[in-house]
């Protein structure tokens, strides 16, 4: 096998690894973000004293 074939195979394996990793990463990231968002929104709300989504103030 010559050098071009080696490079082709290297790029092919890189492509497979990169694209599958990216897609798996997107899925995991989405899940993590969905779990994190409510906590973060609640934290922001307590910090600034109003809801960051609807802008309503917290009533005691």
């Amino acid at each position: 096998m010559d050098i071009i074939s080696y490079i082709i195979f290297f790029l092919l394996f890189f492509l497979i690894g990169f694209s599958s990793g990216r897609r798996i990463g997107y899925k995991n990231g989405f899940k993590e973000g969905r779990n994190f968002a409510p906590i973060d929104i609640r934290k922001q709300m307590l910090k600034i004293g109003k809801c960051p989504i609807c802008d309503n103030k917290i009533e005691d």
């Binding site: 492509l15 990169f18 990216r22």
Partner: protein, 194 residues
């Protein structure tokens, strides 16, 4: 000799094929390119003019012209594979029939190199047009699959083409870059997507 008669004929036929493919593509998609004024002026006359170009191109080098035009047709067809066409076949069925016939007549190597070249041109074009297509919400492989994936695939295709038919791939890419250069110089469209 570096450039004998065969090669000059090949280069000219590739340029003519590129003009035909560009004309038909812009005519069918109503794209706004440097050929739009010519297409608007021609109107229905685009069919005879394309056929005349095609005949001259075939005179120069029939195999390359036919394989390039057929492969451009096939790749263009794959954009929307499920639409029904005039012969009541679906897009991919018609592409398959055309491919099988052209492989029978022209040989496997000629068709596969042309197919890879047209695919490569399509991928590079998508990478160049990514901002514009994102703005206009066009069909773009670089947006669909990701930029890095498309760049890596293009590199793989270039290497495979170097192995299979270096001369043809080189001339085709040269003509493609020439067209891109002309388009970038003459395109009057406002670049508002940047």
């Amino acid at each position: 000799m570096l450039l004998d008669l065969y090669e000059i004929k090949m280069i000219l036929s590739i340029i003519l094929s590129a003009i035909i493919i560009k004309l038909l593509d812009d005519y069918l998609d109503n794209d706004n390119s440097f050929l739009t004024p010519i297409i608007n002026k021609m109107g229905k006359g685009i069919l005879p003019y394309s056929l005349i170009f095609f005949s001259f191109s075939c005179l120069l080098n029939a195999q390359i012209t036919i394989s390039l035009v057929v492969c451009a047709y096939v790749i263009g067809m794959l954009n929307d594979i499920h639409r029904k066409l005039s012969f009541k076949l679906k897009g991919y069925e018609e592409a398959l029939v055309v491919l099988i016939f052209s492989i029978l007549f022209l040989g496997f190597l000629e068709i596969i190199t042309s197919l890879l070249i047209i695919l490569l041109v399509q991928l590079i074009d998508d990478i160049i047009d990514i901002k514009k297509d994102r703005f206009y919400n066009n069909n773009n492989l670089a947006i669909k699959f990701g930029k890095v994936e498309i760049i890596t695939t293009s590199m793989i295709l270039i290497l495979i083409l170097i192995k299979l038919d270096f001369k043809k791939a080189f001339v085709c890419l040269l003509v493609f870059s020439l067209f891109q250069y002309i388009e970038s110089r003459l395109n009057v469209e406002e670049e508002k997507w940047i």
